[in-house]
Structure formats: structure tokens, C-alpha cells
Symmetry: C2
Subunit: 508 residues, 2 copies
């Protein structure tokens, strides 16, 4: 069996069943092995940023890693921004990157690049497979790392791929991350029992999934503590019947205002909250001075399990998850952040997945009652993850996906629309066309000045206006433009009633 | 003066007058400085791969570096594939990459990444500017490196950008690369004088520009030697009145066949020819066994100057540059590689710039007589450079640019069309829509098998067919589809007669 066949077999035997791909010549023996060893679902992205973004969302929704297939050096580089997002969100991915044959590399052919150096910048684990006999072991190590939420990159020289002498292996189960020990739990419980303290549980990881929410529903009423989530949590279960967990706001002043009342913060699967960027004369940490900081669970631990143990330590009785108020009526009139949130609450199908790359327009989208849904955020702040993630989430689940998608970010990875069309995925894109990098105009003002004409050359997306309906159709996705909420509502309803993707351009 | 102002001033005083940009928050003080210090032409790309590809072509045509402005970490990563191409083509670029404020970096905010590590993989020179007082010196070093064809990356922490205490400098002229010494020239002359040898001059760099061609027109008739160029020469002057210099073919067997007759190869600004990739049982070098290899000029030296010195050493009389035969008539009937080449010969405007990312379809486009033009190739083999390069070449020169553009590669960086529309550039795109990664289907066959259905999921670009007319219009570029050469000819003529961009989708 050659190296490529052993790798495909190891992946399949280890339940890595989807390969997001954009191959090149150095991967051709791996592609040929995918023909010979049946069972892998291969999904093409027209650019590697689509490939890695799909793999990110696949992990968030399927709870297990997919593989990516990337071309040596530059192909990997094209996928690095969304690997950065995946790394920040702890989405495990097995990257398979073909490379020059070992004996050909010294000849420095045009596509030869520092593939290992590139991989290291975004990976937890990098291995260039030295020989066919090593491929099974290398794949197992990569798969096990990815199952723990790590980016594992296997660099596969072409000759290692085509040579005989390889044998497949099976990745055995990975031991779960250690649970917090009794003393840590008891400390947290003691803090929560202290009536003199104002305690915030600052949560991330899987704290906002079912078990974590049920534990929080016990802890909060029993102790009077409050809860807040990281802004960019990879996946939250939200909507009716779920515990509303406010996310910390993006604007620094607002975030500090929200945190100011607390004298004790317990981190549960979250890092301590910090500003997105440093500003002159401003602090990096968003926490109030003198706050007492404790860690119940580190980001790589099981936050839900830690919360359940804490609820038990508090002997807190079962709490009620809120029934959720009634859904709002669909909004009418002008398209605004508020009216869009309202119509989303009215119309979002139960069980939908919301992929939020709405940047400035959608900051308050989460405050309206909606049907139960999953919410995926831009975990690493590198724009261009939204449309690829929507595509990967739909592939992982078959569920309706609604993209809340800013235009500037959509322009980074619009090629994902083509994969949505090819795979006939239930993806509805709400394309918010405000025709500017609005967040940056805000950041420019934060420097104490107003953008002049030279700056606006770089911050304004008009001249010419981008026609998103035309772009979507170009990639095979039906689309329509809306200028009123009545039109938005009708188009959303129509889209949710059909199979296949649809894009609604909201001119705002 | 703050760091950002000193940097902008240093750039302008050193004749770096164009900044291709896609900024983010950490660059906002630099953007503000561009408003306050007048003189920089700023050009926005909707994705960093457009930004770096424009800068690559700008250097090739303007002969001096532009700056790029990129966002920390992931923004730089998005531009790395075209930095790879630029590096391979020896296009100098000054990358300015904003980054976290120095004191904010340890807090590991979401967009914090290994910016330096990323930059090193594609740069000749990387400097993270440590303090405002260093910015002038760091910028001068970067500009001087870029003038020598290097990728120079300046990482600019936000606080270094906004702090006072910086002073601008001016980059002094760079000494030219050393000319070959007399003994090297005499050795080459001796080889060429030896009637028993079959000598090939294998050229790269600027050998295919005017001075190099005039020297070759003296050397070749005087010695009987032959000339061949690297496949992916950054820029060649071609067409009527220029010396036709055949490029080495891409297919390995054909390349080896062309090189087989020679027993002596002299490298002039070129590296020894090697296969693009390694194949089982095949060699890496394309040179015949036992060939005698000499170096007249290394890639970083002035190949044209070396050839002139060699012609002088040979006392070769002035040679005639060919008048070039008559231009062909425009072709009619079906769209084929041959008919397209013929119509290009008939219709290409004098002084045009041809950007060749035609991959398989255009391999013989260069063999037809055309009006004098410049030809830019995909130097590093990382697809997605074509449309950005066309945009940058038009910005650098104002001349008509004709893109010979394969569809799979165009899908990597179609966002460049928007910049063509915004800047109203004279760019004509001949979009060759064969709806597959044709080069990879050939490479799959080279493994000894025929692609099965799983492989074709990754090699076929149909299902759905991409509508390039719709995509172009979405980005504000007028476009039309052609299915016959008569339609192609009419659309080419119309496009060449107007200002502004136009895309012709060739259904082949």
C-alpha cells in the first residue's frame, strides 16, 4: 500500500470522513488514492480560504475533525487566515499539505516554499512525514490532536505519498481534558457563597451549550452571580428555551462599563477579557482594577462539566431554563439593525444555524427572542470566515444556515457561494451592503480625527457599488435585492421554504 | 512627528509613491498619516492577494518598488501567495504590516498572531520596528532592499506608529549588483568560440529586455549558439522588432527534448532548468547528463549588462533585431488555442502589456507575431496572480493590459476586477472558461490512472458553471460572452477602443 492510500485509510478508519480540498500537482497521488479507497466525501473550494473556513465550521457542528487538502506553500498560505480563526475557536482540523518530493526540494523549483515555516504559524502540531512507514503514526497523532481542538498539519512530500511500504492505523480515543480538581471547585463555590462579593462567571468554550446552560441555571439563582460570555464564542446554543448569556460588547468603553460592577471574576473555559487592540493611554485588560481573578476551567478543559461540578458543590437545586418570550412580529419599513433583528426573531426557523460575520451592523442581533438555534462567531477576528463557515456548517448538519454577512468581509471569500451551489446547501445569506469598512471608519475616528479623502480611498467600498445579486448568480446562487423590510421578510420566507442556497442583498 | 508620519514621509522622499492597501485597526494611525502627509497614491484591494499581486506587477513595470499596507497576521497571510510569486520574480516590495501595540501583544487578543513568523516565510528582510526613533532607518533599509528586487517587510506595532519622536530619512541610491568579472566573461567567450561545442545561453532576469536582446543579436549569429529563456520570466519584451527568445516548455519531456542537443549551457540571470515537480523515477534537472554548466550572471546580477560585455569580448558585430513578419489576420470559427493566438497577433495594440495566467490553454500563445508588447508571467506558479498583476501593471503605466486568464486561477483573485473598475483601468480580460483544473487532470493522468468520480469532484469546475459575465458586472466591470472567434474579435476591438476595463468570457 502506498503512503497516500495508507493515509486515506487511516483517516476513514478514524472517522475523518470529509475532506475539504483544493489540490495541486504535489497532491495528485493523494487524490488518486481517494479514488481507490472509497468513502471520503470530498468538497472543493475555489480558494483555500474557503477550504479551511468550511473545516472550521465542520468541527464546531460535527464535534469531530475534517481533513483539508492543500497545495504546498502558497496553497497553505491562502488558507492560513481561516486556520487562525479555527485555532482561536479551538476547532480541530487535520491539514494535509502536499509538498515537493524529498529529493526534488533542493532543486528549488518555482513552487518550492517554506511550507513548514508557514504551517507552524497557525498549527499546534506540524509534521513533515519522513517516509511511508511513518504515515500511519503521523496521521494518528494528527487526528488525535485535532480531536482535542488543535490544528494539526501533516506535510506529505510527493514521494512519501506514492511510495509503497505504508500501513494504515486507527486513531484510538483521546482521553478527555482533566476535570478541575476538588479544591478549585470548592474555591469557586466559596467565592459564590460569599454575600459580600459581586461575582461574574466569564464563560467560553462549551459553557453556552446545553449542559453548561443547565448548570448555570442552577448556579445563578442560588448565588446571585452573573454570567457573561466571550464576544467570539465558537458556538452558542441560543433562542427560546435556552439560557440567555450576554456576550461582552466589542466597544472597549462599553465592555469596561459592563465589567465594572464585579469584584470577583471566575473564568470558565474563557480567557480573561482584553481589548481587541491597544489604544493610546488605555489599558489592555478590560477588568476593573483590583478585581480578584480565578480560573475554574482553562479554555482546553470542559467548561460545561466544570459548571456542573460547581453546581453540585453548591448543592444548587435544578433551575428553570427560560421559556423565552413570544417571538416578535416581522418588522416593516426601513432596513435597520433593529428591524433586521426583529424579523430574524420572527422568521428564523427552529434548529437553524446562524453564522455571524455582520461586524458593525449586527452587534445587537442577539438580543431579540428567536427560535432555538446555534450561533457561530468569528472567533479570531480575521474577516472572510463567514461564507465558508456557513458552507461547512450546512455540510456538517444538513440544517438551515443563515449568514449574517457584512459586505466587506463577504468580499474576502465570496467563492464559498459556488460550493453552496455545487452541494445544493440550505444556506441563506443576508448580505448587509453598507458599502464601507464601517468598523474602520469608527477606528479612524478613535484616533481623534475624521477620515480625509486619502483615507476614504481605503475605507469606502462604493465607486463602484458591488452588485451582490450579480456576484451570487455568477457563482450559481439565486439572489435578490431588498430595500425594505417587507421585501426582506418575503425573501427570507421564500428562501427558508426551499432547498439550495439563496442570497438576499440588503441595501442599508 | 509620529512614527506613521515619519514612515510616510520617508517613503515619499524615497520615491515610493504608490501604496496598495487593505488596512485594519492596527494600521489606522498610518492611514491617518496618509491623510496628513500628502502625495501617496493609495489603491484599495478587496483582499490582500489583490494588494500584493498589484505590487508585484508595479515593480516589474515601474522598475521601482511600491508599498503595501497589510493588517497584522491574517491580513499578511492572505497576501503571502502573491508575495511568493513576487519573490520568485525578483519584484521588490515594501510591505508595511501593522501589528498589536507592543505592550498589548502579551494579552493575546484574538487577532494576535505570529506576524514575524509569517513574514519570514516570504520575505528577504523582516524588521519589527522597535521604537519611533528607529522608523526612518528601518524604512530606508527596507526600501533599499526592495530596490534590489527583495521582499522587505516592516512590522509596525501600533504604538510605534502613533508615538512622537520619529524623524524621516531618505533612502540613498543602491549600488548596482557587481558585473561579472573579466575572467567569467572570457570563459564564456571561449566556450562560444569553440566550434566543437553546442552552446545554449539559458537566460532569465532582464536578459529579454532591450539591451539584452541587442547583445544576443550580436552573439548568436557570431557564434552559432542558441538562446532559451526560463519558462516564468518576470518580464519579456516581445513582438515585432524584438528578438524572439523561446521559453523552455512546461511539460518535462518536451523540455528535456529541447535541451538534449546541447553539451554546454551558460546561465545568464537564470537558474539551471529543473522540473516543476518531482515524478517517480524521473530526474529533477532537465539538463542532459554530462552537460557542462557555466554561470555568466547570477539571477540577482544584471543579465543584460553581462550579455553586452560578452558580445564585446567576442568582438561580435552589431546584429539585426528581426523586423518580424507581418501580423496575422484575425481568426474565424471555433475558439481554440491556435485561433486565439492568431487573433491576438492580429489585434494586440502596440505597447500593450500581456499578463499570462492562461496555464494550459495558452502554452503556445507566444509563437505568433504580434505588435511590440511586454509579457508578464506567473513567476512562482502560485495561481491567482493574473488579475491582480494586470491591475498593478495598468496602474504603473496607464498602458493597455490584456490578461490571458484561465478560469480556475481567476477564481482565486476575481476581486481585482473591482479595483480595475474603481480606478477605471485599461484592462481587457480574456477569460478562458474551460471549466476544469485542466493542468491537474493532466497531472492525474501522469500518475498512470484516469480520474474517477471522487477525483473529478476536486478537478472539475462545472456544476454549476461559473458565469464570468455576471461576476465581472458584480464588481462593476462590463463584460460579454463569446463562443466564436468572430465574437471574440469584435469584443477585443471594442474593448481596445475604450477606456476602462472589460472582460470577455471565452467559452472553450
Amino acid at each position: 500500500m502506498n503512503g497516500a492510500e495508507a493515509l486515506v485509510t487511516t483517516l476513514l478508519q478514524s472517522e475523518v470522513e470529509v475532506c475539504f480540498a483544493n489540490p495541486g500537482t504535489s497532491e495528485m497521488h493523494f487524490v488518486a488514492a481517494l479514488d481507490r479507497v472509497a468513502g471520503m466525501k470530498c468538497v472543493l473550494g475555489l480558494h483555500e480560504t474557503v477550504v479551511t473556513g468550511m473545516a472550521d465550521a465542520y468541527f464546531r457542528m460535527a464535534g469531530k475533525p475534517a481533513a483539508t487538502l492543500l497545495h504546498c506553500g502558497p496553497g497553505l498560505a491562502n488558507g492560513m487566515a481561516n486556520l487562525h480563526n479555527a485555532r482561536r475557536g479551538r476547532s480541530g482540523i487535520v491539514n494535509i499539505v502536499g509538498d515537493q518530493a524529498t529529493w526534488h526540494r533542493p532543486f528549488d523549483a518555482p513552487l518550492t516554499a517554506d511550507t513548514e515555516g508557514m504551517a507552524r504559524t497557525v498549527s499546534h502540531r506540524v509534521e513533515t512525514v519522513a517516509a511511508p512507514a511513518r504515515i500511519g503514526g503521523a496521521a494518528v497523532a494528527a487526528i488525535q490532536a485535532a480531536r482535542q481542538g488543535q490544528i494539526a498539519t501533516l506535510i506529505l512530500p510527493a514521494d512519501v505519498s506514492w511510495q509503497e511500504g505504508a500501513a494504515p492505523e486507527v486513531a484510538g480515543p483521546v482521553a478527555p481534558a482533566a476535570a478541575p480538581d476538588a479544591q478549585v471547585i470548592e474555591t469557586a463555590a466559596r467565592l459564590l457563597r460569599d454575600p459580600a462579593r459581586r461575582v461574574l462567571l466569564f464563560v467560553g468554550g462549551n459553557a453556552a451549550m446545553g449542559p453548561g446552560q443547565r448548570a448555570l441555571a442552577r448556579i445563578l439563582p442560588a448565588t446571585g452571580a452573573e454570567v457573561m460570555a466571550e464576544l467570539l464564542t465558537a458556538r452558542m446554543e441560543r433562542g427560546q428555551g435556552r439560557l440567555p448569556i450576554p456576550r461582552i460588547p466589542y466597544p472597549m468603553d462599553l465592555a469596561m462599563e459592563k465589567l465594572a460592577p464585579f469584584d470577583t471574576v471566575i473564568l470558565v473555559g474563557a480567557k480573561a477579557p482584553v481589548a481587541f487592540f491597544g489604544y493610546p493611554g488605555r489599558p489592555s485588560s478590560l477588568l476593573p482594577e483590583g478585581v480578584e481573578l480565578h480560573v475554574l476551567a482553562r479554555p482546553e478543559q470542559d467548561a460545561g462539566q466544570a459548571l456542573a461540578a460547581l453546581a453540585d458543590a453548591l448543592a444548587a437545586p435544578e433551575g428553570m431554563l427560560p421559556g423565552g418570550g413570544p417571538l416578535p412580529e416581522a418588522a416593516t419599513g426601513a432596513i435597520t439593525p433593529e428591524s433586521m433583528a426583529q424579523s430574524l426573531g420572527a422568521l428564523l426557523p427552529e434548529g437553524a444555524i446562524v453564522v455571524d460575520e455582520s461586524i458593525t451592523f449586527g452587534r445587537n442581533f442577539g438580543q431579540v427572542t428567536m427560535a432555538p438555534h446555534d450561533w457561530l462567531a468569528l472567533t479570531g477576528g480575521a474577516i472572510g470566515d463567514g461564507l465558508p463557515m456557513a458552507t461547512g456548517a450546512a455540510l456538517a448538519t444538513g440544517r438551515r444556515v443563515v449568514s449574517l454577512q457584512a459586505d466587506g468581509s463577504a468580499a474576502y471569500s465570496l467563492q464559498a457561494l459556488w460550493t453552496q451551489a455545487r452541494e445544493n446547501l440550505p444556506c441563506t445569506t443576508l448580505l448587509i451592503s453598507n458599502r464601507r469598512y464601517n468598523i474602520l471608519i469608527g477606528e479612524y475616528h478613535a484616533t481623534g480625527a475624521t477620515p480625509g479623502p486619502t483615507a476614504m480611498e481605503m475605507l469606502d467600498l462604493g465607486r463602484p457599488d458591488i452588485d451582490w445579486v450579480s456576484l451570487a448568480r455568477g457563482f450559481g446562487v439565486e439572489a435578490a435585492r431588498a430595500e425594505t423590510m417587507e421585501q426582506v421578510n418575503a425573501l427570507m420566507r421564500a428562501s427558508f421554504a426551499r432547498t439550495g442556497p439563496f442570497l438576499i442583498e440588503l441595501v442599508v
